[in-house]
Every structure is written in structure tokens, then in C-alpha cells.
Amino acid sequence: MEQQKWVLENPTLGIIFVAASFVAFYFIGWYSAKAAKSSTDYWTAGRNIGALANGLGMASSFMSLATFMGVTALILKLKVPFVYMWIQFALSIPLITLWYGTPLRRMGAYTPAHFVRERYGLSTSYVTVIFMILVMLMYALGQMIGVAKVFEMLFGINYTVALVCGGALIVGYVAIGGMYGTSYNAAFQMVLMGIAFIVPLGAIMKAMGGTGWYFPPLLYADMVPAMLEAVPDFFDMKFGFKWYFSLIPCFTIGAMGLPHLGMRIYTSKNLKSARGAMVWFTFFCGIVFSATYTMGFSGVFFQATSGTTIIPSDYDKITLILNSVFNPPWVLAFVIAGAIAAGLSTISANLMAIGALISQDIIATIKPNLSDKTMQVIGYSAITGGGIVAILIALNPPTFLVVSILWAFGLAGVTMAPLVIMGVWWKQANRYGASAAAIISGLTYIAVSPYLFPDFTIAGGLQAKLGMSGALLCVPLTFLILTVVSMITDKIPALMARIPHEEDKRLVDSIHGWADYDEERYNSTRAGIIVAAVSLFFVIWAIMPGGWTA
């Protein structure tokens, strides 16, 4: 048994491939940005991206550095429960499209917070914008640190230099390209990372004797016995029903609240194109997600059949290790370029969201009469500023911000998704309900996390660290507060006279495509009571002890 830490032996080819990919990213960003004639074009790519490019872009926003580096390690650590957690991320775009993507595209929104502003007013939108910037920053930070570590490994430089250089390169191409550049780059990056992940995986499987090498995402049943021998409990369920159920509020509804995913839908040419993009997203997302499970299996199969032991701290490098063993050096270099592309596609989407939130949802509301040219300069500055903040935090990241990117999903699910969903589908949702729900539930979610008060959590352990127990309580709590406060304040004429509730209700009909107004549409009190009752049930269930372990 040989057991040693893996190192990249010959980084030259990797450096050449990564440099070439950056040249391509900058060229695509610069060239496609020429189509942007206004700040609206800059943030929405002129609402002109086709279904295939948009579907690739949507999928690439979801493929992060983790696809190449972290997922395989987590598969081996958490086993089948992690696979369950990963599978459901593919629901994000179909659910966003179904529940609010197309209505907000019809409205002409820049970000989900833009809709919150139109529907619930400025104060509520500022609350959600602050939460969203925090979520995007946490998300971008993890990727920035990952890219810096790959640069550190590749160039043999220290972490700080790698971070500053890598970060500056990333921020530069995002700011130059705007949403046009980001969208076309994301499509290109998805193709690059898809090929870099799946084709070499087929070669690895063939070299190891796998019979399903010609379609790695699904045909690896012959590795199952090796997996069972090496990791006998791989297919065990381990956790209780509550653990699996909490994936829905934390990650499924959480992903629905992520602004950078919703923003992809607003770049579509039209609603049919947005739905076409959703279909392409599901295809590309599914094929790469499935291939990551195969990569985890291949890592175990390799250890079981070759006698080589990969040390646990190298589990996140299984993709690179397998490629270094079974494929020529230029393929490994290509895979590294694919990993960098995966990290970049996510950071660029995060930075675009941060930039749009700052410039469109904060500055443009404070100073609504700024010229288009000034807004474009503010746009560049907002993206660059967001990037610089992410780099500075990544220099010495606080533990709280890097412990779990997945925790940020729950925060988006608590503070954004319910407000948008109810705002689009229920006219009785009003500004008082939305503000109270976002503030109370958002702060409760932070308070019950183990990062603030370690002894004050809903359930300790992994489920608390990932935000699952907090989301199981706080997502329904948001729905509950929103519906109950809205229904109560609706009966207080003095309060209702202070808000333009009739205009807010008309917005609901118009974003669903109705040219005429009908008071009865999307206005069921019974529906509000049902949502409140179901939410109350889940709030009580979340607080009750037990149910997290098998």
C-alpha cells in the first residue's frame, strides 16, 4: 500500500491551458459586450440570449469548482445522503421558471429584489438586498478561495499572491463583459467544463476496465461491488426522515431565492425561450451531476483495484489524481482549465448579482435620475467593488463565512423566495407582512445557526451547520408571518391607507400576462389560510426534537 500526498508534477501544460482559457474568456467578454448599448443591456444582455446559450449559462452557474474538487470528497464522506442533496439542485431553474421566472421576465425585472421593490416597496427591498448581498458574497468567497488554491498549486506561488492575481483577472473579465459577456462566457465555460469532466472520465473508466466507459454518467454498475467492498455502508440512508425532508426548504426553496439564478431567466429573448433554456439546463445539469457521482465511484474503484490509497485530505482532488494516473498530461491540463472555468462561471454570476443589487436596487432607487452613462460607470464600479471585497475577505476569511456555502442557500430560502412566491401568486400579501417576515425569519435563521450561538440551535450537528434545521423552521416561519400579518393588517384601514395596495394588486395580474384586471384572481383568503396552517404545522414539527437520525 503506498500512501502519499498528491502533488501536481508538471504544471507547465496546466498553466498554458489556463492562460489560453483566460484569453478566450476576455475575448468573449470584450466582443459580446459591444452589443450592450445601455445599462439595461449591461445587466440583462439586452434580454436577447437564446434558449441553448441560456440553458448552458444556467447550468454553468450551478457548476462550481466543487463539481471538480469538492463533490467527490463529499460523496465519499456523506455517501448516498449527499447524492440525494445534490440531485435536487436540478429542480432550481424549473421551479423558478414555473413560480416566478416568467412573470418577472414579463415585468422586466433586473433582479428578484427589483420585483420586491415594485411589489412591497423600498423598505422591504432594502432588507432583502442586504440579505442577498450577504448570500452572494458568501457564495463568491468560497469560489474565490478555491480558484486561489488551484492557482497556488498550478503556479507554485503563495496563497495571497494567487488570490489577488486570480481575483483581479476574474473581476476584470466580468466587469468588461457585463451580462452579455457573462452569459456567453458561461455558455462557453459549461461546454468546456462538461467536456473536460466527462470525456476524460470515459477514458479513465476504460483504462480501469469499466464496461460502461462510453457513457460515464449512468453506466457504472460494474463498479458497485468494488464500492460496496471498500465502503460497505455507502448505500445506507444513515439519517432520519426530517433530515431528508429539510432538503426541500433549505436547498430546493433556497435555490429558488438565489438572485443569480433568477437573473438568467430575465436575459431570455422571450418566455418560450426561457422555458426552452429550462429544458437545456435540466439536460446539461443532469449529465454533469450524474458524472460527478461516477467520478466518486471511480475514485473508490481505483483504490480497491490498484492497491493505491488516496489519503482523506486528497479526496477533493480525486478528479485530478485519476486524470494524472490514467490520462496524458495535456488531458490533465485540460481538466484543470475546466475546473477553473467552473469556478469562474459561478463567481461571475455572483458578481453580476452583487453589481445589479448595488447599482439597480440601491443606488438607482436613491438617485433615480442619474444618466444612463453614469449608471454604466456605477455598474462597473459595483462589480469591481464587490470583487475587491470578496478578495479582501478571502485573504483572511472569517470562519463563519467559509464554513458552509450551503448555509447561504437557506438564508436565500428564508428571506427572498417566499416573498417573491407569495408576491407573485397572492394579492393579499402586503408590505407589512413581507417586511415583518423577512426581518424576523432572517434574523431567527442567523440566530439559530451554530455560528452565532453554538448552544442555541434547532438541531446540532451537520444539519445545523448546513442550515437545514434552521431552514426547516424559518422557511415556513416566513410564509406564516407573511400570510398572517398580511391578513391582519388588511383589516386595519388606517394601515392600508398608507400603502398603494391597489397598485400592488394590479401588478400581480399584469405580470401573469392579463391585460385586464380581475379582483378575484390570485386573491383567495382560503389559500392564505391553508398556507398559514401548513406553515404552522412545519414550524411546530421543526421545533419538536428528534427525527434527524435513522
Binding site: V83, L91, P94, F245, R275, M278, G286, Y293, D516
Partner: protein, 90 residues
């Protein structure tokens, strides 16, 4: 209340349930342990079915979802233009 509106509500709830079923089919194996460990295509059922439904099953649902919701948009547009025309004439 016209049928396009009712259809919109039905589609949204119906497709949400189908999407959740595809993405969270693992819940059935947690709730009903008897379903586990039957081998399907060389994989244990609690692994094979969630992975297959989470990609291929989901593909089928979103294709149908895209088709029906596109048709519904056309229907809402038709209803709206009819209402607008009759209001103008009336």
C-alpha cells in the same frame, strides 16, 4: 373565473408536485425501508431510482411543463385580447 386562470393554478401546483417527486424521490426510501436494496440495473433501488428520476425523469417533466405552459400563455393572450376587444366594442 375563466378556465385559463384555473389551468394556470392547476399547472403550477401539479408540476411543482411532479418536480418535487423527481428531485426528492429518495424520501420514499426513507419513509418505506422495505423499498430499499432491491437491485435495479446493477444498483440498489434507493440509489438507482433517485439518480434516474433526478435527471431523466426530470427531463420528461420539464419538456411537458414547457409545452403546456407555453400553450397556456397563448391561451391567456387569446382570452385577454377577446376581453379587450369586447370591452372596446361594448
Amino acid at each position: 373565473m375563466n378556465s385559463a386562470y384555473k389551468k394556470e393554478i392547476r399547472y403550477t401546483i401539479g408540476f411543482s408536485l411532479l418536480l418535487l417527486l423527481c428531485g426528492h424521490s429518495g424520501l420514499f426510501f426513507v419513509a418505506f425501508p422495505g423499498l430499499r436494496d432491491a437491485m435495479i440495473l446493477g444498483f440498489p433501488s434507493q440509489y438507482c431510482i433517485p439518480v434516474a428520476l433526478g435527471w431523466l425523469g426530470l427531463m420528461v417533466v420539464v419538456v411537458i411543463q414547457a409545452k403546456l405552459t407555453n400553450d397556456l400563455d397563448d391561451e391567456i393572450e387569446a382570452v385577454t385580447s377577446t376581453n379587450t376587444t369586447s370591452t372596446t366594442k361594448g
